[in-house]
């Protein structure tokens, strides 16, 4: 058993490191935005860089405010916040902007914000609250049902908005938390299994390998034989049915599903962007072209280069060295968060921090994976680098909550 004093000190020193990492990431983002808005002829605070700076300052103020409130407020109010959040993400859906057909923005006078960004935080807090119930037997599969429902509800709402990226994050952020809370990996596997059965079914070999894995897992799960058989048959028939059902869909229906998984519906547009993004990053070479010197200049005119594709600006202008530094910063941040979660003594706080760490991880991997052509184009921004008020503030709120949670022991 470690001594409390030691924990306090080590956490506060890691808090300092977290703050420092975040600061460096913000600077990297501002530098990239600087080149992005280099040729825009507007007053400083009208450019994206100026606006982003204002958002960051606002975010830091919010962060400081949140870091000193009572943690009890988070714990006790979790369920209330959750339902308020649900109301908020339904709201833009009701009064949504019918012109563009997307309703993920919430408009309040001059302020536009995306409540689905903040909802992630509330979902994490609520799931953590549930998982830290004192009489919860986490090794029981039934304990996992409520947390799953807690994420499926907001996921179902935002998937219609349409914001597949955010919806996917809702769904997957619950897994590290369940794992962290001590759920059996075998149970988590069973939850993901139907999805994998469907996805792998499109290719014979992938499906074959999947079936082998499934058998192995069911064997290792030491399940009662009839349950194992039911699970196996269920997954197998899902896999067999998928291609049949898929082929019965009309081409436009298939297209509709395909576009759901590739948020940028215009194949011409997204293909172009990904090619341009890869050319930009690739042409950056080892040390990049220097700030503002991206010769792949037309990237500057890509509509999303200052938010979703900001990483390609970094890649072009700072090269391999630059992107490695940014990757290292993100890696450090996530590892620091995991360590904080490990050292915290109460389960609620620990789970909240793990949830936040997974949000950062997913955003980083999915966003960068997209800019380098590994993953489909989804509209997920890069934390602290991408331009966008709602997201940057929600990132700072998460950091603020981490500070709050980890500092309370010392008071």
């Amino acid at each position: 058993m470690k001594k409390p004093v030691q924990i306090g000190r080590s956490i506060s020193s890691s808090n300092f490191l977290i703050a420092f990492t975040v600061l460096l990431l913000c600077i990297a983002g501002l530098l990239a935005l600087y080149s992005a808005s280099l040729h825009v002829d507007a007053p400083f605070f009208k450019k994206v860089i100026g606006k982003q700076l204002l958002w960051m300052i606002l975010g830091m103020v919010t962060m400081s405010g949140i870091s000193v409130i009572q943690k009890k407020l988070l714990f006790d109010g979790a369920y209330i916040y959750y339902w308020l959040g649900i109301a908020l993400i339904i709201l833009p859906y009701l009064m949504g902007d019918s012109v563009t057909g997307t309703s993920r923005w919430f408009v309040l006078g001059p302020i536009h914000f995306q409540p689905s960004e903040f909802m992630k935080i509330l979902v994490i807090i609520t799931v953590a609250r549930y998982l830290s119930g004192s009489d919860l037997i986490i090794s029981d599969f039934r304990s996992l049902i409520i947390p799953l429902l807690l994420v499926l509800l907001p996921m179902g709402i935002v998937i219609k908005q349409p914001d597949l990226g955010t919806a996917v994050i809702y769904f997957f952020l619950v897994f590290p938390m369940l794992f962290w809370a001590g759920a059996r990996p075998y149970h988590l596997f069973l939850i993901v299994a139907p999805i994998l059965s469907i996805v792998t079914a499109f290719n014979f070999y992938s499906f074959f390998i999947w079936v082998l894995i499934l058998i192995l897992a069911l064997y290792l799960g030491k399940e009662k034989i009839w349950i194992a058989v039911v699970l196996f048959v269920f997954n197998l028939s899902l896999g067999f049915l998928t291609p049949v059902l898929w082929n019965r869909l009309k081409p436009y229906q298939q297209n509709r599903i395909m576009t759901l998984f590739n948020v940028d519906i215009d194949p011409q547009g997204s293909g172009y962007q990904v090619i341009q993004s890869q050319v930009a990053i690739g042409s950056g070479g080892l040390f990049g072209k220097g700030i503002g010197n991206g010769t792949q200049t037309h990237l500057k005119f890509l509509p999303k280069q200052h938010n979703d594709f900001i990483f390609s600006v970094v890649g072009e202008e700072y090269g391999f060295a630059g992107v490695m530094l940014v990757l290292l910063l993100f890696f450090t941040l996530i590892i620091l968060l995991i360590n904080v979660a490990y050292r915290l003594r109460d389960r609620f706080s620990s789970l909240v921090v793990i949830g936040f760490a997974s949000v950062f991880l997913y955003h980083v991997v999915i966003n960068i994976g997209m800019t380098v052509g590994l993953l489909p184009v989804t509209g997920l921004p890069l934390p602290f680098l991408s331009y966008g008020g709602s997201f940057i503030i929600s990132c700072f709120i998460m950091i603020g909550i981490v500070f709050n949670i980890s500092l309370e022991r010392r008071r």
């Binding site: 714990f75 057909g101 119930g133 004192s134 590290p176 794992f179 962290w180 001590g182 436009y252 229906q253 297209n255 509709r256 576009t259 519906i265 215009d266 194949p267 011409q268 293909g271 172009y272 090619i275 341009q276 890869q278 050319v279 990053i281 690739g282 042409s283 950056g284 070479g285 080892l286 792949q296 037309h298 005119f301 509509p303 890649g315 090269g319 391999f320 992107v323 490695m324 990757l327 993100f330 890696f331 590892i335 995991i338 360590n339 979660a341 490990y342 915290l344 003594r345 109460d346 389960r347 609620f348 706080s349 620990s350 793990i354 991997v365 960068i368 994976g369 380098v372 052509g373 590994l374």
Partner: protein, 603 residues
Amino acid sequence: MFYVKNNVTSLHRNLLIATVFALFIVLGFRLYQLQIVEYSRFAGIAEANQIRVVTKEAPRGLIYDRNGQIIVENKSQYNLNIIPYETVKNDSVFRLLSRITGISESEIRQRVQKNYRGLFLPARVATDIDFKMLTEIEERRLELPGVLYSLESVRSFPGPANLSHVLGYLREIDKEDLRMIKDYGYHAGDLIGWNGVEREYENILHGQKGFEYVQVNVFGQEVGKVQDERSVKPRFGNDLYLTVDIGLQDYTEKLLAGKKGAAIVMDAESGEILAMTSKPDYSPELFSGIVESGVWSRLLNDADRPLYNRAMQGTYPAGSTFKIVAVFASLQNSILNPDALIRCQGVYRLGRREFKCWKTGGHGRMNLFDAIVNSCNVYFYNLIRKMDLDLWADYARKFHFGAFTNVDLYGESQGVVPDEAFLNKKYGLGGWTEGNKLNLVIGQGDLLVTPLQMVRFAGTLATHGKVVTPHFGLRYLDCQTNRFQTFVFTNPDSVSGISAAHWDFVEKAMYDVVNSKNGTGRAARVRDLDVYGKTGTAQNPHGEDHSWFIGYSKRDSQILAVTVLIEHGGSGGGEAAVAAGRILNYCKKNLVPTPAQTEIATR
């Protein structure tokens, strides 16, 4: 402490860290691949070259008539486009372009704004530029970065006839439409069939554009293709064959030139429409590509409504042609002995109201047969008094009046067959009188029909009960398999419950309408051809009577149904019958049953 203790183990932490590490390694490796391994390739692309999306046009299918004569083909025109990004900071391009094309600089900028689809996608600034301009632009290529021309395929109409209402037109897809149809592979700015067969057979005619990614150098010249799995091959449209005989179509259009009205010729057995004319019409050339707003509003605001297809959108009172419905109702239900004589003194009195016959002096005493031949109103007034209105309406509906014909054109009208329920609803219970019946039996009052319904009616009379689905689609050439695909249309229920003797009775009367010396349709007579018909004179509140003629001719195996309507053309025996006679005469001389026809007819 009310919080539950954290019971996480270091194994959990290490597993999580390992996962994170693995994911970052994957990203790092990919970046290493892009930036170190493939650096020179990407640097090459980035330094001298740009990537541009090039659309590969897929021509729309052609349209032929039943004999393989071309009606609609594609012609290429050069359009001038600008890539907004490449010219955004370059005023000299606009200056030079303005000098070459003669379009003012601000106008060019406006057009770029208007047709803007993205910074890297060409925006159209001029259409159909001539060869001189083209060569000049080509010569000064280096001074005009970001300016390019595209070959666009537009519709052209080499045939003699307009056929405009049948062909319809294309329209540019706007953002609003796109939301509904983008799943079918359309893009903003594509043309889509918006009316006529261009609309109805859109899925057959339209091709699917392909695109390629090409590298261009700083001068905008193509230097190579980017091999990329994202490029898409174009798919051509299929050629469509219509049932129309373009010669006959041209003839009917010329015949009705200067008039307002409609004429339709249909094969009574198969429902194939050989000609459909609605006058006034417009030249389809006006809609060959992107329609200028001036042309559009001029057509829309024309008082004569040239865009309106009178042949199937227009609803009119049917006039005396509709008496035949009452004839069948009476014969089949023995309402009135056909041999009984009724005296016509030119007027029928109902209470204080007088209902006139068209012949002021009256027709004298006549039986049913003569009443049809002479189109005597008074006889039918007497007839309908003895008949239930709903019985009459039932017979009208037996012939599928008041129902869509389901012709393969968009925007057809349904018409109205009033029955007691209808009149009760419109005028209130008891708000209508026997007088309404008297009007209806002679095809006036609330009865409304389209010329298309009338030609189908004529066809039903000709075939003794067959009700067809009139159509224009014959077959198409599937460009994937290079095989003809024939369209199949299902006909609605035939008219049942009418005895052969009654069909013959009406046919004989209709023969006499045209061929006896006091028939009202003598003007439609054609030498050496059996023509049957019925005239109609429809009163209307807008001016002089509309002139109707419906009829058919039987020759060899071919039965042609014809309908002519001339708005404000006076009596049916006049203009309409004359036109119908000429049309059938033309058919006699020029129409040869083609193999395709017989194939369809046996369906």
